[in-house]
C-alpha cells in the first residue's frame, strides 16, 4: 500500500478530471452503424401513470385518520395496534391494487379478521413466560396424601369438562357404560400427568400458572373444523382399507407408505377397448399412468380391466413398480439431444439452458414434470399417438448416453466446462 496515494486522494479536487473525449479517428469511409437499440427488461411506466395509480390506491385503501386511530385504541392493545401499523406499512397500496385478488375457493382462510379472537388454525397459540408470574416460583414435592387429593380433584375437574351436563345416571345402556368407563380412565390419566398432582406451590399466581395451558410447553390440540368440505373429505383410519396390491408393492420396493405418498402419479391416457368373443363384445377400460418423484425417477404403467377403478389401480401400481432413474444434467435438463422411435412415433428431445422452461407438448410436459426436468424442448415430427409418445419419451429419457460413459468408451478425457468455470456452484 502506498502512503502517498491516500494523501493525493485527500488533496485531489472532489470531481476527478474525466478523460477528455479523444477525437476518434474514423477508420471507415461510411458512417458508423448505431448500436442496436436495447429494449428494457420491463415496460417503462410514465411518471404520470404512476401518479394515477398511486391516487387510485390512495382512494381504495385510505390511511387511518385520527378519529379511526382513536377508535382502534379503544378496541385493541398497543401491541396489536403496532402490529396493524407495521402490516399496513409493509404492503404497498399500489401492489394491493394491482396484484391482490380475493380467494373464492372452499379452503380459503378467514383472512379478513378483526383480530379479536385467537384462531387456533391460523394463529399461534398464546404463550406466557415464567416472568409473567408475580411472586416466588418455589416448588415443593407433594406427599402421598396431598397427591391423591390433588389427583381426585383434577380428575373430577376433567370429568366435569367432558360431561358438561353432569354424569349420566340411572339404568345405563352398555354403550354409555363403556363410554363412561373410558372417560374416567382418560380423566385419571390426565390428572396423573398434570403438574398440580406432583408439585405444591405457596404463591397463588404460580399455582394458577400450573393449571394454565398458556404456560404449558405442550402445544394445544388442533381444533376439529366442522364444515361441509371437511366432512366430505375426512377419512377415518378405520375406514382406510388395506389394499393388498399396495402392500405387495411396498414389499417389492422396500418402501414405507410415507415414501409412496411422495410419488406423483398421473393418468394420461384412458380409453375403452373391446374384446370380440363368441359370447359377444367384452368392453374394458385401458389406462396409461406415469409416476415420478420429481427428482429423476420415472415410470410408465398400463392397466386394463372391465372394472374402471381396477384398471386404473393396476396402471398406477405398474407405473410405480416400473420406475427407472433418469439422468438429469444439473438436475434440470437432459444430456444433449435425444431421439427415440416407437412404432410410427418419433420423439425428439432437446436440452435447453437454465430458465428456458418446458416448451413441449402436454404429454411430454407431464412426463418432464414427473421426472423433475425443468428446461426442455421437444418435437414429435411423425405420428402423435398418445401411448407411443409417452413410451418413446420414457425410452429416450432412460437411455441417455452419459459423458462419463462416452469418455470411457473412447478412452478420452471429457470435462464439464460449465462445472469447472463456475467452480462447482452449478449442481
Amino acid at each position: 500500500m502506498s502512503v502517498c496515494r491516500p494523501v493525493r486522494c485527500l488533496f485531489a479536487s472532489a470531481a476527478l478530471p474525466k478523460p477528455s473525449a479523444a477525437p476518434q479517428r474514423s477508420f471507415h469511409a461510411s458512417a458508423p452503424r448505431a448500436a442496436r437499440r436495447r429494449r428494457p427488461h420491463y415496460p417503462s411506466i410514465k411518471a404520470e401513470d404512476l401518479k394515477l395509480l398511486s391516487q387510485a390506491a390512495e382512494t381504495q385503501y385510505p390511511k387511518y385518520d385520527t378519529s379511526e386511530t382513536a377508535l382502534l385504541e379503544k378496541r385493541y392493545t398497543p401491541a396489536q395496534i403496532a402490529a396493524i401499523k407495521a402490516a399496513e406499512t409493509a404492503i404497498d397500496n399500489r401492489d394491493l391494487l394491482t396484484q391482490s385478488s380475493h380467494r373464492t375457493d372452499p379452503w380459503l382462510l378467514p383472512y379478513e379478521d378483526d383480530l379479536a379472537e385467537v384462531d387456533p388454525v391460523t394463529d399461534h397459540a398464546e404463550k406466557l413466560d415464567p416472568s409473567d408470574i408475580p411472586g416466588s416460583h418455589d416448588l415443593q414435592d407433594v406427599n402421598e396424601e396431598e397427591r391423591d387429593e390433588a389427583i381426585t380433584f383434577i380428575a373430577n375437574e376433567n370429568l366435569a369438562r367432558m360431561f358438561p351436563d353432569g354424569l349420566p345416571e340411572g339404568e345405563l345402556s352398555e354403550d354409555t357404560q363403556r363410554q363412561l368407563q373410558e372417560a374416567m380412565g382418560t380423566a385419571v390419566t390426565q390428572a396423573l400427568l398434570d403438574p398440580r398432582a406432583s408439585f405444591r406451590v405457596k404463591n397463588r399466581h404460580a399455582a394458577a400458572a400450573l393449571a394454565d395451558p398458556r404456560h404449558s410447553i405442550v402445544m394445544p390440540d388442533l381444533p376439529r373444523i366442522e364444515n361441509r368440505m371437511v366432512r366430505q373429505t375426512r377419512r377415518l383410519s378405520s375406514e382406510e382399507a388395506e389394499d393388498p396390491r399396495q402392500k405387495r408393492l411396498l414389499q417389492y420396493l422396500n418402501w414405507d407408505k410415507q415414501k409412496l405418498r411422495s410419488i406423483k402419479v398421473k393418468t394420461l391416457v384412458v380409453h375403452g377397448v373391446t374384446n370380440q368373443t363368441r359370447m359377444g363384445k367384452i368392453r374394458s377400460m385401458y389406462y396409461l399412468t406415469i409416476a415420478g418423484n420429481q427428482a429423476g425417477l420415472l415410470g410408465v404403467g398400463e392397466g386394463k380391466s372391465v372394472e374402471p377403478d381396477e384398471g386404473r389401480k393396476q396402471s398406477v401400481m405398474a407405473a410405480i413398480r416400473n420406475m427407472r432413474p433418469i439422468p438429469r444434467y444439473e438436475n434440470r435438463t437432459t444430456f444433449g439431444d435425444l431421439e427415440c422411435k416407437v412404432g410410427a412415433t418419433k420423439v425428439q428431445l432437446f436440452s435447453r439452458p437454465p430458465g428456458f422452461g418446458l416448451r413441449v407438448q402436454h404429454l411430454i410436459f407431464e412426463i418432464a414434470r414427473a421426472a423433475g426436468l425443468q428446461d426442455l424442448a421437444a418435437r414429435t415430427p411423425r405420428s402423435r399417438n398418445k401411448m407411443n409418445v409417452i413410451k418413446a419419451t420414457w425410452e429416450a429419457l432412460c437411455n441417455q448416453k452419459l459423458p462419463d460413459e462416452i469418455a470411457r468408451a473412447r478412452g478420452k478425457k471429457l470435462v464439464d466446462v460449465r462445472k469447472v468455470y463456475y467452480g462447482g456452484s452449478v449442481h
Binding site: E405, A407, A409
Partner: protein, 199 residues
C-alpha cells in the same frame, strides 16, 4: 475428392457396428485414410491397417507360435517352467504406450486390391461409433468459416449446418491443413469443408 465414396463408407461403418463386427474394411483413398486416423485419434475406432482383400491377422495372434514350434516350447517349459512368465525385458519391448509397435502386414502390390481395415469399438454392449452422417453432400457442397465452426461447436446452427448437440458429437472437416476435427479447427482458426458428423 469423392463424397460418394465417403457416403458409402459412412453407411458401411454404421451397418458394421449395428451388426457388431469387430473388423471391417473400406476402400483406400488418401481422404479415407486421414479421416479414419482422425476417428482413431478421437477414439471411435481401435485400429487402422492397410491390407489386402483378406483381413490382416489379428495383432494379438501374430505373436503366437506356429504349431511345430509349440513342441519345442512344451519341452522347454517342462525343463524351465519359469519361462512361462514373461521376462521384464520382453514386456518392455511390447509396451504399446512406450514404443511404437510395428507388425508384419502383407499389402498387395496392386493398389486396386488394397483395403483399409478398421477395428470397431464397443462399450457396454453399445457401439462407440453409432451414427456417421455426411454433411457436405455430392449434390450440395458446404464450406464453413472458423466463425461458423465456433457457433456450431457451441451447439448453435450456422450456415445451414446443425450444431453439435449430441453428447460427444464430433465433426470432421477437410481443411488446407489436412482432415481435422471441428474443435481443432476452431482452436487453429481454420475453415473448411465439413465431411461428416460422428457420434
Amino acid at each position: 475428392m469423392s463424397l460418394v465414396n465417403l457416403a458409402h463408407v459412412c453407411s458401411h461403418l454404421q451397418n458394421a457396428s449395428k451388426a457388431r463386427l469387430g473388423l471391417t474394411s473400406i476402400p483406400v483413398s488418401k481422404m479415407h485414410v486421414n479421416l479414419m486416423l482422425g476417428l482413431q485419434r478421437e477414439g471411435f475406432i481401435s485400429s487402422v491397417t492397410l491390407g489386402g482383400t483378406t483381413p490382416p491377422t489379428p495383432f494379438l495372434l501374430q505373436d503366437q507360435l506356429d504349431p511345430e514350434e509349440h513342441e519345442d516350447m512344451a519341452q522347454k517349459l517342462a525343463a524351465e517352467p519359469w519361462a512361462a512368465y514373461p521376462s521384464p525385458k520382453w514386456t518392455g519391448e511390447h509396451l504399446l504406450g512406450g514404443r511404437q509397435v510395428s507388425y508384419n502386414v502383407k499389402v498387395p502390390q496392386n493398389p486396386a486390391r488394397r483395403r483399409l481395415w478398421l477395428g470397431l469399438k464397443y462399450w457396454n454392449n453399445e457401439p462407440v461409433l453409432k451414427t456417421m452422417k455426411l454433411i457436405s453432400k455430392p449434390t450440395r457442397r458446404i464450406w464453413l468459416t472458423s466463425e461458423d465452426l465456433g457457433r456450431i461447436t457451441r451447439t448453435r446452427e450456422s450456415a445451414y449446418v446443425k450444431g453439435l448437440t449430441h453428447p460427444g458429437e464430433c465433426m470432421f472437416l477437410s481443411t488446407d491443413r489436412g482432415i481435422l476435427e471441428a474443435r481443432e479447427c476452431v482452436e487453429r482458426k481454420l475453415g473448411g469443408q465439413p465431411l461428416c458428423r460422428v457420434y
